[in-house]
């Protein structure tokens, strides 16, 4: 029997379900970071404003903190975390450098349209040690991109702005049709954030990067509509056996 027949016969006799493509991608990204030496940490989806914003140098007047961008719960006692960065804060408060952790999970923004969902997933990593610099960050990004998109992928770094990193960058890859596609944000941890976490920023420095799981899954799994991930439609989810 040819391998093709084998495959077919097994597909008509066996019953195999599917992992969710977002969980699959999230795990793959975590595995990649673990292969570099980052250890996995989790944190709560319901966070304090302090961990979600203040400690990350996101000032009280920052637009992201407004009620139309962030979900507040229990009479503004907590927020639904807007990123997985509070996990990094919790880790930095708990551990002494050197620290290398990767976190992943659900995050929430008050958004709901054809390209934005109120809940999506992020994978973030942080490394704090002596002499960590931007060129180390570039090395990691190149490695990650070549694992995900192939060794020949063309990568572009662009300056960007995040309150918790300085310098900050966004990374684009060149798609098959020649267009640049943004795939992640990263930077050197802002010394203010290290100081907030009682880490001496004169002695230690850090790099951080964050990836939107849906965005990367859409690119790599050939999914055009982000909402397809959350319709729980077996016709869609069941395609991969």
């Amino acid at each position: 029997m040819s391998p093709k027949e084998n495959l077919f016969i097994s597909s008509v006799t066996k019953d195999v379900g599917s992992k969710h493509p977002i969980e699959e991608m999230k795990n793959k990204l975590v595995n990649i970071m673990e292969s570099f030496g980052f250890s996995y940490e989790e944190g709560p989806e319901i966070e304090t404003e302090e961990n979600n914003f203040d400690m990350l140098n996101i000032k009280k007047n920052h637009p992201a903190r407004q009620m139309h961008d962030t979900f507040y719960v229990e009479n503004r006692s907590f927020v639904l975390r807007t990123h997985t960065s509070p996990v990094q804060i919790r880790s930095m408060l708990k551990l002494d450098p050197p620290i290398s952790i990767v976190s992943a999970g659900k995050v929430f923004r008050k958004d709901d349209d054809s390209t934005h969902l109120p809940m999506f997933h992020q994978v973030e990593a942080i490394c704090v040690d002596k002499n960590i610099n931007f060129s180390n960050l570039k090395y990691l990004i190149f490695e990650i991109c070549s694992i995900l998109f192939g060794k020949d992928v063309e990568i572009r770094f662009r300056p960007s702005y995040f309150p918790f990193t300085e310098p900050s960058a966004e990374v684009d890859i060149k798609s098959e049709n020649g267009k640049w596609l943004e795939i992640l944000g990263c930077g050197i941890v802002n010394p203010i954030v290290l100081d907030n976490c009682n880490i001496n920023s004169n002695k230690f420095s850090g790099l951080a990067l964050g990836m939107g799981v849906e965005r990367i899954a859409m690119l790599l799994n050939n999914v055009n509509d982000i909402r397809d991930f959350y319709k729980s439609n077996l016709d869609f989810l069941g395609q991969k056996k």
């Binding site: 027949e5 016969i9 597909s11 008509v12 006799t13 019953d15 195999v16 379900g17 599917s18 992992k19 493509p21 977002i22 699959e24 795990n27 030496g37 709560p44 989806e45 007047n61 009620m67 979900f71 507040y72 719960v73 229990e74 009479n75 503004r76 907590f78 639904l80 659900k106 929430f108 008050k110 709901d112 109120p118 809940m119 960590i132 610099n133 931007f134 060129s135 180390n136 570039k138 090395y139 990691l140 770094f157 662009r158 300056p159 702005y161 300085e166 310098p167 050197i188 799994n221 050939n222 999914v223 959350y230 729980s232 439609n233 077996l234 016709d235 869609f236 989810l237 069941g238 991969k240």
Partner: protein, 641 residues
């Protein structure tokens, strides 16, 4: 921000092509798209200083050299004796009022002012407002023109102590909240400060006498107000992101110059209210620190050259930050400036070595692997719910009232998923989800529990062994047989009578906290993580209903079934979505094997008709019937003719 390519070239010494300009703007962190002669920029929120031609030209100085050639009115300005009280000098430390009167109305514009309305999203309003908008486009300083004849009384800048109604110059009525910053005359609001002026004092085509307000408002005072009141203005966009506190004099003089180039000025007078000295920001210049942040080996000379080109003054080991850069506070900010100019892509990459770690066991991933092997499909649902349950967490600002709680169980979401798939004619539905769920106690403390939820109904599976079996408690129990966990105490049979469904099969649901699985793995093979890095390509799915056809093939031996299966597998069809062997019977004595296949059809653009399905099947069945000793009992012979 949109700008005209030619407008920017006029204040640059070099003349980059559009593509060169676009590339350097990207390098500097300014995403852009070119539409004909227009550049559409997406600036990061820390770069309010670049929201003008002047700001962009300064940022591009290292590459294309800023040409400071704007004509500025340099005449003397008489003092204006004007009744103004600034009650909020902290919110508005700098404010200038210019009284200006011209002889006649202006109807035609010089080419440069005319071109401001070509290709850019700007509409003509009236002469003074148009000049005000143009100055903002050129220099980044918003100004506001009042029709001077409409101002009767003392002008006050204050935070109102009670709500007040206000009609904007765009004729929109809003109620301004207590504590918001406004300009008032006789206690009537005439301008929502830094955001939008009012209808009662706006200029029109006939206006020849104006009061021009030119201020620096602290970003905190303006932030969020335009969203709150549903007012979108260029002024609020700029003030929210920071306007240079030292720009007002230049803006006023540029405004006068443009007016002068269009009209005869009868009178100009100036009132100035300045409450602070701008604090100079001085940062230590430490090239080795900059190189240690970037991992670069730049020499001092290069670093100083870059900083000077960005209008940072360098004095020995200090850097004086220009007044328009409120985002530069630390050595890391200086390092970013250097990196932007040399190009992030030109910074070397340097290997980082971290100690390798043993991958720890993940219970979630183990359950995920195990359940998918048992035919379950994983789903992810939003955490929102509308069920007010004991200890459920309320969302203060939900997307809508149907999503105003955080779910305390996965049951409702999974049940909804199951019913959705039943409506899509799925006969075997087995779903699971792993998620944290949250509750709040009476002290306001949040509690987290990671759970696995599982729901199933219908046929055990779509294959010949399990097709006739129905999902029941025994089946669910069998999935967890290798784990020493008693699932029966978590298992629920959901009553269909409360659901809007005609299906009759049992619905089984269970939810187990992951902590209950701890210690149950001693004798279980936990398997290997999937290290495959090839990514599966999903196909788009149709929203139209599917249709099925069952065919029973009579054959003489098992090998022929494989041949039939192969032909189905090889059959090239856009509408055949699935096919599986659902029944199988071997009569060894008669050398007969009966194999029943189910074919599922679905189209992307319509509901398929019987004829369309028959036509699609015809060549496949015809091909199968050519195999030796294959027949379809009861099958109409005329179907294939």
């Amino acid at each position: 921000m949109k700008f005209h390519y030619q407008h920017l070239l006029e204040i640059l010494k070099k003349t980059p092509s559009k593509n060169e300009l676009s590339e350097i703007l990207f390098q500097l962190g300014h995403e852009n798209e070119i539409e004909g002669e227009i550049f559409d920029l997406e600036l990061t929120p820390n770069r309010g200083d670049c929201l003008s031609l002047l700001g962009l030209a300064r940022d591009l100085n290292f590459f294309f050299e800023f040409k400071n050639n704007l004509k500025i009115y340099d005449g003397q300005l008489e003092d204006f004796n004007f009744d103004f009280i600034n009650h909020e000098p902290n919110a508005c430390p700098e404010i200038i009022f210019l009284y200006l009167e011209i002889e006649n109305e202006v109807n035609s514009y010089k080419d440069y002012l005319e071109s401001y309305f070509e290709g850019l999203p700007n509409k003509r309003v009236n002469f003074f407002t148009d000049v005000s908008n143009y100055v903002s486009y050129e220099l980044g300083q918003p100004t506001h023109c009042y029709d001077f004849s409409s101002l009767q009384g003392t002008l006050e800048l204050k935070k109102i102590d009670k709500k007040k109604d206000f009609i904007t110059l765009q004729d929109k009525k809003i109620t301004i909240d207590e504590g918001d910053l406004v300009f008032c005359i006789n206690d009537e609001v005439i301008n929502l400060a830094g955001i939008m002026g009012g209808k009662s004092t706006r200029c029109n085509d006939k206006t020849t006498e104006i009061l021009l307000e030119c201020a620096y408002f602290r970003p905190d005072e303006i932030l969020g107000k335009s969203t709150k009141y549903g007012l979108s203005s260029d002024a609020s966009h700029k003030y929210e992101r920071f306007v240079d506190p030292a720009l007002q004099d230049l803006a006023i003089r540029r405004f006068i110059q443009i007016v002068k180039e269009h009209a005869t000025i009868k009178e100009i007078k100036l009132y100035k209210n300045s409450n602070t000295k701008h604090l100079e920001r001085i940062i230590e210049l430490n090239p080795s620190k900059i190189n240690s942040i970037l991992g670069s080996k730049l020499d001092n000379k290069k670093i100083i050259q870059i900083l000077n080109n960005l209008f940072f003054e360098t004095i020995e080991n200090k850097v004086r930050v220009p007044s328009f850069r409120n985002d530069i506070l630390t050595a890391n900010d200086i390092a970013e400036e250097i990196a932007r100019v040399i190009g992030y892509n030109n910074i070397p990459s340097q290997k980082i070595n971290l100690p390798k770690l043993e991958k720890s066991f993940s219970l979630s991933n183990f359950l995920r692997n195990s359940l998918t092997k048992s035919g379950f499909t994983e789903v992810i649902n939003f955490q929102f719910s509308n069920k007010v349950k004991n200890k459920s967490i309320s969302i203060d600002n939900p997307l809508d009232q149907n999503k105003n709680r955080i779910r305390t169980s996965l049951k409702d979401s999974l049940l909804e998923n199951l019913l959705f798939n039943e409506r899509r004619q799925k006969s075997s539905i087995k779903l699971f989800e792993i998620s944290d769920i949250y509750t709040v106690d009476s002290n306001g403390d949040i509690h987290i529990k990671k759970v696995i939820g599982l729901i199933a109904s219908g046929r055990v599976a779509n294959n010949y062994k399990d097709f006739s079996k129905k999902i029941d408690m025994r089946f669910i129990d069998s999935i967890f047989k290798d784990l020493s966990i008693d699932v029966s105490k978590y298992l629920l049979n959901i009553d269909r009578q409360l659901l809007n469904t005609k299906r009759k099969e049992e619905i089984l649901f269970l939810e187990i906290p992951l902590e209950k699985f701890e210690g149950t793995f001693d004798d279980v093979d936990i398997g290997q993580e999937d290290k495959n890095i090839n990514f599966f390509k999903y196909q788009e799915i149709s929203d139209y209903p599917s249709s099925m056809r069952d065919f029973s093939f009579m054959v003489s031996d098992l090998d022929t079934i494989n041949k039939i299966s192969q032909k189905i597998f090889d059959f090239d069809s856009k509408i055949l979505k699935d096919a599986f062997l659902f029944d199988f019977y071997e009569n060894a004595a008669k050398h007969q094997v009966k194999a029943a296949y189910r074919f599922i059809f679905q189209d992307f653009s319509k509901t398929l008709t019987d004829d369309e399905i028959n036509q699609e099947l015809e060549p496949l069945l015809s091909d199968i019937l050519k195999l030796k000793n294959v027949s379809i009992p009861g099958y109409k012979n005329d179907f294939l003719q």
